[in-house]
Amino acid sequence: MTTAVDLSNALAGAVERAAGSLFAVHGRPRLPSTGVHWRAGLIVTASHTVEPDREVTLTAPDGRTLSAQVAGRDPGLDIAVLRAEVAGMPTADVHDDGELRVGHLVLALGTGPRASAGIISALDVRGGRQREPGAMLAVDLTLYPGFSGGPLVDVLGHIVGITTSGASRHLQCAVRASAVTRLTEYVVRGGRIPRAYLGVGTQPVVLPNDLRERLKLTQRTAVIVVNVASDSPAAAAGVVIGDVIVSISGHAITEPGDLVAVLQPDRVGHTVATSIVRGGEPRQMQVTVGERPSRG
């Protein structure tokens, strides 16, 4: 008879524990988003809720207002890492999220705290701009206005991800805690999240059937290079306008968003095998990924 009561108390307790590490993030007009004090001095939120070149302020759980700086962003995962003087404030109970399973009961939280409940609906959101398999979860719950950047909490009160409604047009998503921690580690080690850079502008292009058959390609589309920045990694590797990029490091490139997805921060400085089609003939190129200058 007490099981449902216990579960209810566990959920309410989970909210209470997580609430102490939640900040309101004022990084866009009107509606503030939610941020999580991930590790000392670093607050994580959804990148799409923090506009570029904008002063960011935070409201702490105790009501204090603090200023914050964007230390790094990962637009592909829709994560921004903010730096603020939050000495003495508790950090989130971030947990190894390897145990998550489809069907697990989870809560999404906004500042207040406000809560929303549902289940994990998929462990791996494929397609779109997702990259490392499993970095983005799909959740079956309602992300109410202002929830983006807030924590995904399990029934034990552990923070297992960061929710965002900006990563997919159709799904409510959450970035796994492990992927978020990886991004914060870049900031801790190097003061920023490096942005991998090739220096190409591209457009999607449909591959003709005979070309696909001849080159044994399963993908229907690829991207065509319409711009190559001078002195860029792509220019150095010999990429020219009109080249069709088919894959990078074995990952199919079917739309410009796939480039963003493949160009993870840890690719910076590494050479990637790039398959292109030039004049109807396949070619392999080695491109050394550079770093894009940060604009905050």
């Binding site: 579960l7 209810s8 009961l105 705290p113 409940a117 549902g118 109410y144």
Partner: protein
Amino acid sequence: MSALLAAEPTPHLARIADRLQQVTVEISGAGGGGAGILWAPDLVVTNAHVARASRVRVGLADDRQIEASLIAADRRADLALLRVPRVETAPADSTDSDTLRVGALVVAVGHPFGLRRTLTAGVVHGFPVSRSGGRWIQADLRLAPGNSGGPLADTTGRVVGINTMIAGGLALAIPVNDVRRFVAASATGVP
């Protein structure tokens, strides 16, 4: 939220549902309609926007239809108290709504779109300030027209609020502590 029901040990929630369905009445009458809660053997509470006439019909869980008369209505608070002929059914249990916490599991019973005594489950979302300066119980819970006036209850099956509105996809309920004060004030001097 069906997901929550699926994750729940059904026998327990089923018992709660059964009990709540017994104390959830159906109200129909001129210009209004919705749900109500059997508060005492001869009293029903509901929303003022559900009981709009001085006499309304009340449908009990055993399918009987009885006549009810309006004793008191507070349009601002959206609460109404009805007198019904004494019934045998044990009235609703209620609890202290101030002890409710964000994230707690809650269930609602009502007649969404006329589907009688339907149970929905969700969690407490927050406690926003209401027009009157009090607090709502806001729940991440799917309600529909026909839920108005019906009970919002905790996992012990005790009523914590009266479902009153839907705003931004969230349920808004009047805390049962406010309802208790309203009933006490309205029943004073009523024999």
